[in-house]
Structure formats: C-alpha cells, structure tokens
Symmetry: C4
C-alpha cells in the first residue's frame, strides 16, 4: 500500500506540476499555432446556440468603426422602409400635408420621409398623422426610435469603455547575450499616451514531447523571468528569460524548436489608470519567429528635460555574439 | 487551566478548519439543494423592505428582453394615458389644431396622441398647446419624456454591460479512472467566442453528518483539485478531484452519497477580457447526478491550421472501469 | 550600538505591529465615534477647494431620488427662465405665431414655453424663431438641451451602476457563549435578492489607552475571527471573535469598555455577482451597543424544498449564560 | 562549472533584486525627473500611429470641462455649416417656408438654421424639406444628429465615471526624528468627501550610481515603510520610511542627494467605495524638495462630537532636531 501510495502521489504531483494553457495535451498539430498574433485563440466553436453564435453586443462592440456606422445606417434605412410600407398600406391620405410633397416625390417616399422624421423625433410637422391608426403607428414608431437610440448610445459607450491598450510587441523574440549567460528576450511598448501600471508578464513555452509510450503530447512550461512585474509601464520593457541550466529552453537550437513545434505564449496584464480598467493582451511567437545572436537597441533617449520614446525602433536589433 | 486551554484551542481549531458555504449548519434538509442548477441560491427572503423586494433596477437588468420591452411599452402607454386625461380635463379646446383630428377620432384620443408626440419630443405641431396651463403641462411632460428616456438608456446599457458568460457545465459529474487512482470529474466550456482568462474553480462537498451528540448537521469540505486555475479558458476544461485516501470523498458509494444528501458546490471565477469584466458562475451536482465508471470523450479536434470545439459533445462519455 | 540597534528595532516592530484605522492616535475624544452607523466617517473637511467641496457628480449620485428629480426640474425651470428673458429682450415679434398664444398668456410666458419646446427639442413649431438673432439663440438652446440631457442620462446611469448592497447589520454586538469559551458576535444579512460572494469581514477594536507617559492615545487592534471569509453570502452570517486569552477583549467588562471609549470598527468587502461590482460596507458598534450573556436565534428555516430567511429576526436574541 | 554557475546565479540574483520603475537604467539625465508633479510620466512618444497619437476618446475624457464644451460647440457649428452648404447647393427653394425667414436673413443662414433644427431634432417645421433630395439629406442629418448625441452622452458619462480622487500630497518630503531614529516622511489627504479605503502606498528611491565600469546607471530601491497600507483613508496619512542602517537612504545628505540626482517615486492605490472604482495616484519628490530636521503639525482636531480635518495645514511643519 505504502509504495502504491508513493507511486500515486508522485504521479499526481508530476501531473499537478504540469502547466496547462487551457488547450490541453491534445493540441499536438505541427501546423496549428495556439494563439494568433492578434492575441485571439486559434479555436472555432461548433454547435453553439444561435444567441451565443450571434453574440450581437460583442460583435457591435468589437467591429471596426466603419462597419459599426454602416450597420446603424442600414438598420435606420430598413426600419424606415418597413414603416413607410405600413403608412402606405394604411393610406397616405392619412398623412396630412403630404400632397405638398407629392408634387415632387411619390406617395411612397413621402411616407418614407415622414417615417424618418418620426423615428428620429424631428417631427417637422409639415406632414402629420391623421386618424387613430396612423397616429397609433406614429406613436409606436417614435417609441421604437427612442429605444433604438438608447441602444446606439449604449453601444457607443460600450465601444468607448472597452479598453484598447494598443500594446506593441517586437516582431521577433531574440536569443541574446545576457549578463554572463544568454537570455530569451522580447519587448513591448505602450503606444498610447495613457498610463499602464502594475504590468505583469507571464511567459509560457509550449512544445510537443513524446511521453513514455512514445505518444506525442503537448507540454507547457512556465519560463522564469528576470523580472515579471513593473510598476510603471511608461516606456518600453524588454522581458528577459535567463537561459539557466534549469530552464526548459536550455540546449534548445533553431532546429529543435522547429522539430518540437515550439510556441512561446505570452500574457500581459496591467491597469489603465486613466479609466481604472484592467487590461489584458496576449501574443505568441512561433519557432520561426526566433532570432539568434542579436540584441535590441534602446528606444528611449533623453531630450531637454524629458525622455523620448521612438516606437519605430521597437524591432531594431544588432548582432551580438552569444555567451556559451 | 492548561488542559482546558488545550481543549479550547483544539475545539476552536476544529471549528476554524470547518468550511462554510454561507448556508451554515442548519441546512440539513434531505430535500432542499443549496444551489439551484442555474447557479442561484435556493433561498427566499421574508420581511424585506419594499424597495429591497422590488429592487427595480436589478429586475429590469435581469429580466428577459421580451419582458423588458413589454414593461417599457406599457409604461409608455400608461404615462400617455395619464397625460391624455389631464389634457382632456383642462379642455381640448386648448389643443390648437385638434379639430382637424377630431373629424377622424374622438377628442380624448386626440389628446392621447398629442401626449405621445410630446413625451417622445416628436412634436409635429399640427396639434399644439394653447394657454398657460396646457403649455405648462406639455413642458413638464416633455421633461418627463427625456428623463424616462434617460432611464431607458441607462437600463439598456446596464443590460449590455452586465456580464453574461454563458459557461456550459457537463450535465453529470463523473467518477472516472484517473492516473492509477480514480477522480471526480466534470467539465465546462465557454460557449461564447469572447475570451475568458485566469479562470479559477473552487469545488466544495456538502453533506449531512451526525455530530458527537448524534445531531444531524451539514458539513462542508473543500475538494482538492489536480489543477484549480488555468490562464486561458479557450476550449474546454475537465476539472479533476483526485480521490486520494485524504479525500473526504474516499470510500463514498452511490448509496452513501444519497444517504448523506451529498451536494457538490462549484464556483467558477474568471475575467472576460473583451470588456475586462470579472465573471462568476456557479452550479451544483446532487447525489443523483453522479455517473460511476465513465469518462468524458474529447471535445477538441484539429482542423486545417486551427482547432474545432464541439459544444454538443460536452456530455458525451464512455464506459471506463475504475481503478481500485 | 548593537543594543541601540536592538532598541530601535524592537520599538520599530512594536510601532509596525500597531494597527491603524486611518484616524491616527490623536482621536482620543470620549464623545466622538470614528465611524457613524451608516458607515461614513465622522470627519468634516476644512479648506477644501470649491470644486472638491461641491463635488457635484458625487452629490447627484448619492442624493435620494426625490432630491435628484427636484434638482433636475429646478434646473430645467431656471434654464427656461433665462432663455425666456433673452427671447423677450430680443423681442417676441421675432417669435412667429406667438400672437396666437398671447390671446391667452403674456408675451413673456409665450417666450418661456417656446424656450421649453426648444430645450426639450419638442419643437411643435406653432411658435418658431424669426431672424438671425432669435434663430441663433434657439440653435444654441437646442444644443444646451441635448447636453443637459446627456448629463442627466449619465447621472441616471451613474446612480444605477453605483452598487447599493443593502447589507443589514444586527443592531447590537453580543457577548455570547461560544464552544467552551465566550465570543463576540454580530450578524449581517444581504437584504437584496442579488448574490454577494467572496465576502470578507475585518473587525477592529479601537480604544483609548494611557501610554508610558500616561498620555491618552487611541490604539487599534485586529480581532481574530472564527471565520473571516465566506464564499457565498446567501443567507445570514454570524461573525464570531472567540475571546481567547490572546484576545485584546479578554477580561473586558461593560464598565471597562465605557471607560476606554471602546468602538468596534467593521469593514465588509464582497462582490455583487449580478453586475460583477465590488461591494464595500462599514459599520461600528460603540461600547453602549454591547449586549452581555445573550445569543442570536436562527433566521434561516426550511420550507418545502427550499430555505426561508426571515430578515425581521436579525436582532432577535435570547438569554445565554456565559462560560467562565 | 560550479563556480561559473555560482557567479551566474549571484549576478542573476543581484539583477533580479534590482527594482525597476519601468524607466530602465538608461535614464541617467541629471536634469530630467521621471515623474512630473501631476503624476504623469516625463516621456514623449515618437512614431505613434495617427489613431494612437490622436487617442480622441482619451483626450475628450481628460481635457478640462471648458475645452470639452468648446470642442462640442465647434463641431456642432461645423456640421451645421457643412449641411447648410449642401442645402444651399440643392437649392433653398426646396426648403418650404424659408421665404418667411429670408425677409430677415439671407437664404444661406436660413438653410443653416434649418440644419440646426434638424441636427438637434427640434424640427419646428416652419421650415421643412421639399423633394426627395432635400428630404434624404435631412433624414441623414437627423440620424447623424442622434449619433453625435450618443457620442456626447458616452463622453459625458465617461468623464463622470473616470475616477478623480483629488489626493493632496505635502509639497515637501521631510527628514524628521522618528522614535529613536529618523524617518523620511510625507503626507497625503483625501480632499474629497468620498471615502477611499484599502489604500496602499509604494515608495521607490531612484538615483544615479556608478557601476563597476564606472558607467553611470540609474538604480531603483524600494523604501520599507512603517506602514504601507491603511484600511480607511478618512483623514490624513503621514507615510514614514524609518531610516535604519538597512535603508538605502542611510547616511544620505542634502548634497549626496543632489549629486546622485535622487528622486523619490510614490504610487498610491486605493478603492473609492462610492463608485467601487480603483484609484491610482502618483507623485515624486526631487532632491530639492527635501526638508531636513522638520516635522509635520497635526491636521486633525476634534470638534463637538466629530473630527475636523484642516486641508490648509497639509504643508505646515516645525523645527525638530534629528536623532543621530
């Protein structure tokens, strides 16, 4: 029993010590990266409920501003179209003053523009509803207009308040000399003028390994960092993983990385203190995005009584012979 | 004294070591589950203050969208009704241009529609207020309209910004072979495409036990997990409680679970990084929701250069003889 | 030096060990409580900047709903008054159609109601601006109207989204028998149906003590709790400080509490998971709010397949002889 | 190898022990302070993308209220101007009722005011669109008006909900006698009546040092505090760094501070419990903002049954001979 216990525990501990990115061990494809460069996960969902698939609010919040305006303009047009049809069917003779218009435009478009004036609550009144039915429809349309507008307002603010940190990552991850050993290095810059603070970085290495039965499974390792938190992310930050003998990266080569389909997963957390919003960004580097024997050149310089940060230089690096 | 002290301390420590779900030890019913499947607590309140019972904002935020629209439409109708009565009592002769309308509809409905045009601030003007009283009422109604609309806007945004994670839990909790022992397993999936990160799971076991005096009291135990946190909740997560001899679940059987009215309480915390919102979901499994000697089948597969997650498979499991 | 060092360190450690509520040691009044029953601090500020004193947004958010509506209605009236004067001074002959009105009301009130129709953007149009000056003023007023309304909308949502947990505290703090010793006990209930989770309680004891020079200084002590965190605050929670010989409360009597002007400061933190809002509430118990030799009666009972929480019983307690 | 390893580790540990403010070691200017008194970083960015440079939302949120209103008023004027031109080009004969106006003002301004009435959805209707083109433009303008207003509403609420704590810092940092040693002291006051709780302070010392190669590099040290967190920041807080022999500040003099261009970096975190918003403020003290041999006078006094906090006294201090 004791021995059995011993085995149990050991196996369990080994299992527990294993890092998990949330992709599990099944993801052993040698083609599929886990995290796309834009920080989203390389996963598509099947069998979602319609509402979950649609996820309208999420889409409206995250789509670019042009599509956003387009969607709104389109809905505006369609709703007016629908009501135009309704007014037309009820009979435009119930739209007082439309004769004036119909010298220039068709009855239908007269109804359409009356609808737009009602939906937006402009209500010039040179066209006005007559009779209970038309009045009732107009009363409903005005309410719909207000609710549509409440929606737009909510969406607009939602888009505002969604944090968009714009953290820039260097395009490559470098293997550079570091102190008297070597280090794995990449750097990030806060492109915005807003202040990010209490920024933490977590770096994970993910690669395929053969388990005892020779089955290919994907393993995850945390890479210890020289520094994994800074209080003020005011300029640029070069994140360094010192390649000590304890590092899972020790003895890796360009070839071994490719063979094991290595991917470096990076998660950055911080706080945007302008709006007191937590900020999370992710990225990853694939084996083919490593540069060996190079080091970054500084991006920060002094000018007058202040400092200048040159974002254009984020990828700039120079040859640097590695320690061995 | 010393010994007394000793007893004290020991008793105190035991007391302290006891987990508390917040239901306390009184909840020993063998019929009542503590947490309903939808994650709400199985508790009703008596003697609340009216405002606390009404809790209007909370209700408006959490009710489904149809009821929400209905409530607004109804209030709109009622407010118009009230003001219609007022205008009617003041005298519709103070509504300039209503004669035009009253060829088609009654004076009262004329007043009603004028009210709706004022409340929504459409103000066509083919009906307009005459005299100080009617003008004053109209001025007040327009303000009320704006404030009602401010309320609607706030509620709409409140509904948007309330996080709705849509985390799916497997319908059953499984007792499955795990390494060379057995494990208690359930799994969860993020149905939405939005990203949940830094997800933590806390699993508690709650059952009735006889204390030294043989009195039935409800006890709570934390169940240690193979892994209680993952950084990226991008796919599915099978949460595992290894049934070691230390586990309070060790030696449990289907019968013993029923006898002690066992319930597994699950709390999940995470962060929705699209809106930087914390997310909390809960669920629970009753003794009759256990499956013995089964294990889950994978839900994640590879396709082309990405991964596919099949939500429909969340409950799928196959026979798996338990270790003993 | 060594010894000096020793003294230093010891003094320093003692200093460090001292808890500080933020009131400092100066607050030795025997009349003034530190925290008012409603949880606000018993402090008034002198020499604030006007904006800080006004703190308009904060006031508008925290005032009761009646005052809130009143302030808005008043501002509405005043703004209309101002513009009425302006239109009047420009000359009401520039308000086309006002003659119609002035059969019933004075020119001034005609201008006033035109203003209200412009500010709310109702714009019936039976009165309309003529000439550049009046038109310009009207154009400005309409914009002001929209901005005022944006403000109102913001304030309304601000009031919504400000968490109002409605946590009820027992009116008294009890010294009750606890296990085989005694305990200091008070209880709290979540009056709302919304769920509070991960609730933490921090209890501090504050009393006047004579320092070595016999000077009266206010000291603060943390009171260790049987349990200082619960995961689900679904029902009621009786917070217990076990009065062990280590407790600063050990050997206290009703008289000694009065003599040292003892106040128990309580801070509760949690998360309202309906809106994922952090929640903070505070209260305090003065020496005259202690009950000796009593214990609370349960507030939770079972009914059918659920539990019933009777808020009215929160203060109910019965005689209970203390252990000694 | 062992020795090599030894060196590595030691160097690495030393490196790790080094605090980093996020400015890195390059910032060795003897003129440039790292943090400006208002808490912003003394850094300008080069090569930002236009959108990142513009960062419109951020600017609109953080600019003062006068500029904010000005920007809105200006945009309002410009948009009206644009549409006035469009209506004018289409032909004002399509603006029904403008003749009435043009007795007083030019056709162009007539179009301008019609535009303003459309954009704000006032829509008096004494001027109204005729023909499809003018009607279409008006329909579009009304929608634009609503969206502009949605933007304004979002911005206004954004400005509200952005936490503005107004924490006052003493103008100088004092070297004062503290217990039987000396201490580095500054103090802060919450100017607002709102309550800040769970306030944490982090103090860093940054100075230039020559490394082994005699190269000037900027080093950062955390300064240990007598107390680095208070639960209730209700009054004033004097933050104290005890100058023990372990302190990097030990043996510093006014001259040595100037020579090494010392700057004390201060970061304060807390929670504004009125809105449950996290709050972050920063400041820094340069070598020339130190006062030696002085101590603060109390700002808190008792009055009746409460306490009075005199903000004006925040900088008041008196001579106090230092311990040595």
């Amino acid at each position: 029993m004791k021995s059995k216990m011993g085995i149990k525990v050991s196996k369990l501990d080994e299992e527990k010590s294993r890092k998990d990115s949330g992709f599990g061990t099944a993801a052993t494809s040698t083609r599929a990266r886990l995290i796309l460069p834009d920080g989203t996960f390389n996963v598509t969902r099947k069998g979602q409920s319609f509402s979950a698939w649609l996820n309208l609010y999420h889409r409206m919040i995250t789509m670019n501003v042009f599509s956003f305006v387009l969607v709104i303009a389109l809905s505006y047009f369609l709703v007016n179209l629908v009501f135009a049809v309704i007014y037309y069917l009820i009979g435009v003779e119930h739209l007082n003053g439309i004769e004036e218009q119909t010298k220039f435009i068709s009855k239908f478009w007269g109804a359409f523009f009356f609808s737009s004036q009602t939906l937006t609550t402009v209500g010039y009144g040179h066209i006005s509803p007559l009779g209970s039915l038309t009045n009732a429809v107009a009363a409903v349309e005005a309410l719909i207009g207000l609710m549509m507008f409440a929606l737009i307002t909510g969406l607009v603010y939602g888009r505002f308040s969604t944090p968009s940190p714009k953290v820039l990552f260097s395009g490559n991850i470098l293997v550079s000399p570091y102190l008297d050993i070597n280090g794995l290095m990449f750097r990030l810059i806060n492109e915005r003028n807003s202040q990010l603070i209490n920024v933490e970085v977590n770096v994970m290495m993910s690669r395929n390994e053969k388990d005892e039965e020779g089955k290919l499974t994907r393993k995850y390792y945390n890479l210890a960092l020289e520094r994994d938190m800074i209080q003020f992310f005011s300029t640029s930050w070069t994140v360094v993983h010192p390649i000590t003998p304890e590092s899972p990266f020790y003895n890796e080569t360009s070839e071994s990385l490719k063979a094991s389909d290595t991917e470096i997963l990076i998660a950055v957390e911080g706080m945007n203190d302008a709006y007191a919003d937590p900020v999370h960004v992710r990225t990853s580097y694939l084996y083919n995005e490593f540069l060996w024997g190079k080091k970054f050149v500084p991006v920060l310089s002094e000018k007058g009584t202040g400092y200048v940060l040159d974002l254009k230089k984020i990828n700039e690096c120079v040859e640097a012979p590695l320690n061995n």
